[in-house]
Symmetry: C2
Subunit: 329 residues, 2 copies
DNA sequence: TAAAACAAGGAAAACGTTTTCCAAAAGAAT
DNA sequence: ATTCTTTTGGAAAACGTTTTCCTTGTTTTA
């Protein structure tokens, strides 16, 4: 294996000089830089990232903490897009990234988790699917031992940024569009998981809309479960004009229930998952580009690692009506 | 950060002794072992896996090479299950694992890929979605620089194992069941991707079945594409009795086409993806537990790293009829 | 009882980087 | 010409392990 030592010898300089060139340090002349880079080319040298990680804490590796406790194909789709987006950007930024699923750390205490991450030379973390009641992850963020980016949860401190869309506005937008298209007055809103950050935001958006338009609204918690949304719809949809759901999966459950009850009500969802194209009826939904969200999350983490302050990053969303014809390929 | 040095000091032994205890080396007395383990407990010590990886090539890290060139939610679902299954077992085996998606290495030559993997201290690899014409991955396996486990491709040498189900038999089984249930004689078989290993195996299963039952069979390549399967069905299904597809996604495409043509033909698929529960019509399919396949793949890789010979591992499959009621949750 | 064999544990090199500090050379200021 | 800065590059320690030898002390064998 060709190491930095070989490059140094080949270029006729010291090891430290090579390292400086590689990491764009100042105080190295243009000429030496050229010589070193030529040697790197000729020897086909690739730095050993493991050694680099060991040597410098701040070069650092990055971990994705992915919650996979809800096992549905829709969640798989969303997680997969997040992971590919994040890892793609990580590679472009030359960040070494590992993926941890929740089953890997769900039995750990905060201290154990911190120790584990440090043992892996992790200095930055992206957290997915964090709920309000997740003690361990909250302590992890609060500890500020690592730079963190939390996706879809408004947590910010000096070393923590949050990334996501404006859930409140998105819910408002998609519901308003659906309600105005169909001149509805009585709304059944199937909210998400209790103690979910996005759940509350989306509900706030709905409440604002209801008050602005003078709607009557019944709110029930669907826990992001297709089955529960189905049951709720069965029970309450009859004397409502529209069913607004805080996720596509629940929208699908609601739609299936309506079809079974043989009544028509407009339904709208949230997320823009592919499955929406397969259920026959078209529905309005909020489209999020999860891969893009995660690319931004990785970008933000990189900035934090470079010394930037934590902040809240809000990304754009769009509305769409998912059609089978657009999805098939 | 508490290191092996602190443990050594706390236990009153040398660093090397601690390392020996940690790695279950011989030539250390039971008493010393106890003392060291107690120190480990008391100091809450976790070995730094990065340092370990740097120090010993054979402790080694493991990489998942995941092909994500086909972007459909079905593939996302399958890949996600593979990844979680593999990483889960890796953690249990204390193997450090990283995930590489095809977009990360698709522009590399074999040599570049090998160098990159070595730079990451990778010693073992699991390869997903390898096609017959993938030069780079074939050379990678042939180079025998790493221990490899190839999922769903029958590649074996001293340092390479293959893991997967018996695709030939599975295709035979599911088609036979469907054909006998409906007393069919004329089969439209929509095969997978040209140059795919499983494509050939599954076709062989169908050919055997056709000859045994005296069926007439038309074979067309659907490339694992829902759209192509749909078009093929539109064109050829009319004077056939049954449409057998080499994947669920294609089966869905075929079924949608039949519904649109307003003719009934039994259809069967292959994989057991969740989406099958959403298309309204029930179909026979082959169920693979992808997470379990990948757990086995990781297990096999561990064995290879321990010095075992490469071999072919065949896992069981089952037949099922995917119903919405079984899938909703 | 001497020699040989073995068991247990320690010292130190090695892995491939980064980074701190220091020395030399060159330029600027007096 | 002398001193003071500044620029450039090198030497060596550090990161936390593993692993190879080597030194003891103890047991076995003849």
């Amino acid at each position: 294996m060709v190491s930095i030592k070989d490059v140094a010898k080949h270029a006729g300089v010291a090891i430290s000089t090579v390292s400086k060139v590689l990491n764009n340090y100042p105080n190295v002349s243009e000429e030496t830089k050229q010589r070193v880079n030529r040697a790197v080319e000729e020897l086909n040298f690739v730095p050993n990232s493991v050694a680099a990680a060991l040597s410098s804490k701040q070069a650092g590796r990055v971990a994705l903490l992915v919650n996979v406790n809800m096992k549905t194909s829709a969640v798989d789709e969303i997680n997969m897009q997040h992971i590919t987006g994040a890892l793609n950007r990580a590679m472009e930024l030359s960040l070494d990234a590992i993926t941890l699923f929740s089953f890997m750390y769900q039995n750990m205490t905060v201290d154990e988790l911190i120790r584990y991450l440090k043992s892996q030379s992790i200095t930055g973390i992206i957290i997915y699917g964090m709920s309000k009641e997740d003690k361990v992850l909250h302590k992890l963020v609060a500890a500020q031992e690592f730079k963190c980016v939390v996706v879809n949860a408004p947590l910010v401190n000096e070393s923590t940024s949050s990334v996501g869309i404006d859930d409140r506005k998105a819910q408002y937008d998609v519901a308003r569009k659906t309600i105005e298209e169909n001149r509805c007055k009585r709304v059944l809103y199937i909210a998400g998981k209790r103690n979910g950050y996005v759940t509350d935001e989306r509900l706030l958006g709905m409440e604002q809309l209801a008050s602005e338009l003078g709607l009557t609204m019944l709110v029930r918690n669907g826990e992001f479960s297709e089955l529960q949304a189905r049951n709720i719809t069965m029970k309450y949809a009859k004397n409502k004009d529209v069913v607004v759901c805080a996720s596509d999966l629940m929208a699908i459950g609601a739609m299936k229930a309506l079809i079974e009850m043989d009544i028509f009500r407009p339904v709208c969802g949230f997320d823009g998952i592919v499955l929406m194209g397969y259920v026959g009826k078209q529905m309005n939904t909020v489209c999020q580009n999860f891969a893009e969200v995660s690319r931004n999350a990785m970008e933000e983490l990189h900035a934090l690692l470079g010394g930037a302050q934590g902040r809240k990053l809000v990304l754009p969303h769009s509305l769409a009506r998912m059609k089978y014809e657009d999805i098939i390929c």
